[in-house]
Structures are given as C-alpha cells and as structure tokens.
C-alpha cells in the first residue's frame, strides 16, 4: 500500500504533481465509489445471483453448498471491488499524461503503516472466519455431501437412513439397494425428503461418484466403503451422475442420470425391481459393503470382501453388513 491513501509528509525536493490534491481526498473518493458499488453488488449477489448458484436445492447438502458459495461471493466482493477500484482509480488519476508522480521514487512510494496493518488484520480475520464457517458447515451438514470413508466423522441425526450402494467399474456405475433384497440396477432412484447414505466402492481402479445436483461427491476405491450422506428435499426430478476421476479410455462416457421420486413412487419402484430382478439378484454375490475382484487379473468374478474363491493371494478384512 503506497501513498495513494494518505500523503506522506513533504520532503525536500519532493514535487506534488499538478492537479493532484492531498491523499485524504483520494481515499474519500475511492471509499465513496466502493460503497456505492458494494450497496449495489451485495444485494444483486444475494437476491439475484444466489438462487442460481450451483448445485441447486435438490438436497440439503446441495442447498448448503449453494449457500456457502454465495457467502464466499459476498465476502469476496468487497475485496475484489477494493482492489479493482484502487487499481482503476490509480491508473486514471495518476497517469503520466496528467503529470502523475514518478511511481518508484520519492515520498509517493512510501508505505503507510495504518493501511498495511489494516489490510493484514482484515484479510486475516476474513480467512480465519471462513475457516470456522467452513468447518461448521462441514460438521452441521454431516460431511456436506463428501465421502467420509468407512467410519464417518460427521453423521446425520436422522434415525431412518436409506443405504444405496454405488458400484463403479470401468466404465459404468451400478447401484444396489440392500434394504430391498440387494437388487442391482443401472438406474439410480432415490426418494424425496429422505436421508440417504451412499456407500461408494469400486470393482477395479479409482473412480469418483459425483451426483452433481445432489451436492454429493465421493471417491470410489476398490475394497473401500466410502460413505457420503445427503438429505433429499421435496424437489423431484433428474440429476446427473458423472465419474470425476480420470479412469481410462471411456472415463468421459461414464455418466448416467438419476431421479428423485416421491416417497410412495420410490417404494413402488424399489418393490417392483426387487420382485422383477429376484432371479438376477440370486446370481449376484451376497451383499457386502466392498467386493474383491478376482486376483487372477483377467477373467471376471467379484466377491464379498475376502471371500474370493479363486484367490489365495489377496486377503481383505471382511466387514459386517449393518442395515
């Protein structure tokens, strides 16, 4: 921060540029412009931009992420405007064609202790405040839709949670519903107004389950049950699921569309699938939170936890299925 805010005491030989008044005058001008733009910009962000900020309001986690984004926008705006206004004002007022001061020597290059301390304190307070805010938002929203591993630190208060297993493989997502007989499908359907626990795992390499409009994003690792919570709101409709971890040739095509249905419609859908797919479900391995791909490499087969009948090489800790 240099002399633009306040004029330093004149020194012998120092020359004030023609038409350049004292620094307090400039500071008042810049503050005035900043206040006017802030008064216009903050309500625009809150009322106009805010509701359209992604990822939307399909779940409480998405709504929380949206809120966090526009809190960040509202806090960033004063800083951005301050920097831009100062830069623009300086370029306009002290440009050489107006006889502006020499930028690198003389009293105009002196620092200003008050401005420097103010800047450091205000930005430090802002960053620390955002740290506290972000931590609270992570805890209050049971992980804010992020994968928390097999032993989540932040868990939802709801007693009734619908578990949905997300199985990634090169290059497809499928889903198992353990509370409906463990049927597996390539359609992700979840009910509105419900706490969902996504149990994300992989049968091969690392993928990433990103249900964009749900505000849910969790890595899919082989032999790892990565849990992400979300609470659907009453908003029905489709959402997009994408793999967000570069995973091979068809990574870009590894996506599908999910749907949030009303509670009764979901129950009907799940019960129907459980019945229709019963024969197919019998051929699947018993439901487990993780599966061990056949260690022989080529050839298929995936097995619950360490029960790979073909493998005497890889042993993984078995987990108990808790519904």
């Amino acid at each position: 921060m240099t002399n633009a805010l306040t004029s330093p005491p004149p020194t012998p030989g120092a020359v004030r540029a023609p038409g350049v008044p004292d620094g307090h005058h400039h500071f008042r001008w810049m503050m005035g412009i900043w206040l006017v733009l802030m008064a216009a910009g903050e309500p625009i962000i809150y009322f106009v931009v805010g509701p359209h900020v992604p990822p939307g309001t399909m779940t409480s986690e998405a709504r929380g992420a949206q809120f966090d984004f526009y809190v960040l926008l509202m806090i960033a705006l004063p800083v951005i405007l301050g920097v831009w206004i100062y830069l623009g004002y300086a370029i306009w007022t002290w440009r050489a064609s107006r006889g502006g001061p020499e930028p690198v020597v003389g009293p105009y290059s002196w620092g200003h202790l008050g401005a420097q301390v103010g800047w450091i304190l205000s930005t430090t307070a802002m960053v620390l405040g955002l740290f506290v805010f972000g931590t609270y938002e992570l805890a209050a929203a049971a992980g804010a839709g992020g994968g928390q591993g097999p032993n989540p630190l932040f868990t939802p208060a709801a007693h009734k949670i619908l578990p949905v297993q997300v199985i990634a493989q090169q290059w497809l997502f499928t889903y198992r519903y353990p509370t409906f007989g463990g049927f597996e499908t390539d359609q992700l359907v979840i009910p509105a107004n419900t706490e969902i626990a996504f149990h994300v795992t992989s049968l091969d390499v690392i993928h990433d389950f990103w249900a964009y409009q749900l505000g849910v994003k969790a890595d899919a690792n082989p032999d790892y049950d990565n849990i992400a919570y979300t609470h659907t709101t009453d908003q029905l409709g489709n959402f997009t699921v994408r793999c967000d971890e570069l995973c091979g040739i068809w990574h870009g095509a590894m996506y599908n569309t999910g749907e949030v249905m009303s509670g009764p419609d979901f129950t009907k859908w799940a019960a129907s699938n459980e019945k229709v797919l019963a024969a197919a479900t019998k051929l699947l391995p018993p439901f487990a939170w993780t599966y061990t791909p056949d260690a022989n490499g080529a050839d298929g087969g995936y097995y619950p936890d360490s029960r790979d009948p073909y493998s005497n090489v890889e042993v993984y800790g078995a987990q108990t299925v808790k519904l």
Binding site: I167, Q169, Q170, W171, L172, T174, E184, T185, D186, L203, D204, V205, G248, I249, W250, A253, M254, Y255, N256, A279, A280, L283, L284, P285, P293, D294, G297, A298, D299, G300, G301, Y302
Partner: protein
Amino acid sequence: MGKRIAVVATLFCIAVGLVIFTAMDYLRSNPPTLNFAAGHKPGQTVDLTLQTVGSIGFGTHPTWVSYLTQAPDGKWEHTTLWDVPAHTMIHVTIFQYDSGSPLRNQFLGHVLGTVGGTMTLNGKTISLVNSNNGNGVAHTFTIPTLGIDVPLWGNSSTANLCGVAPCATKYPHNVITFSFMSPGVGQYPWQCFLPCGLGFLYGNGGPMQSIGYMDGFLKVV
C-alpha cells in the same frame, strides 16, 4: 543476415510442423470405419455381423482378444467402428469363438436394451446369463449410454479354440443374435465389460482400452 534469419525461421517452422503433424497423425490413427449407412433407405434394417476371438493372431498385438466386423462386401475387417443410419433397426449376429469366465459384475449377465430385452444363444431365447456356471461369459457387447448390454456365452477352454482371426465356423463357437433400434445422430462408445486383457492389472488394460479390439464407436449418421 536478414535472409539467413528468414531461412532458419522457415526451416524451424517446417520442423515444428512436421513434429505436430506426425504426433497428430499418430493420435488420430484408428482402424477403418465400416459404412452400413450408405444407400440406406427409410424402413430398411441393417445387418451387423461380428466375431470375437481369443487372440487376433496377427498385427502388433497378436495375442490380444478382439472383435472383428464383417464389412458389407462380406470381408472380415479388424475394426470396431461402424457408421449406421439413425432410428433404424440393427440386427446383430455375433460369432463368439473365445472361452469364458465369470463376469466381474454379474449384473452385466442381463440382456438389456435389445428388442424384447432378449437375445438368442444358438437359437435359444435368453434374457439372463449366469456367468458363474458352465463356460461362463467370454465377452459382452455393451453400449452403456444406450443401456444396451448383451453377454456372450463362452466356449469350453479345453476345446480346440480358434487362435488366428478371422475364424471359420469349423472352430467351436456360439452364435448370438439380437436387435436394437439405433438412436439419433451421435457417437456412442461401446465396449466389452469382461476384463479380458490377460496380463494387465485386473484384466482392464491392453485390448480392453484399445479401439479396434474390445472398444469401439457406434457412429449414428
């Protein structure tokens, strides 16, 4: 001096251009695309005949598993790229010459997205395959973005299997047929979902990630 700089600059530009051209040519190198859309009239169906082999037997990767496609002139081509007309019934016949194993994900034992949700295996209509029994599944024909999946039943690994493509029907094989309606114009990646890249991590490398072998594009024009 100026002339010398101009000559050096020109030669430099030519060299850079050649490097870029060579790199792009390599990156864009693909097997040929077979055109099943040429001369197609509305209401006509398209016949697509394929074969799967345990080892291609020629080229840079003779040991890799592969699909082959029969061109409209009847000749077998080592390619997995096809132009087909939009909104047209595609009748697919696959001659499957490879041995089988369990699917990594038995979910893909479903026949999905075909007409009637079925396929025929050696003349028998089937909608679900148990890959953990018998010869298992050799490969799948799957277009995930269209929700199409067809598991291809394997041959016994102790049989005298064909090792050099294109394979003749004197070798042990299964014949799988199914039909599906082509979607609107676009490019739809398809792949095999049985990790059949022997020698690669979890069987998913090599031919499993190579267009012309176990991956390709359905190009709807």
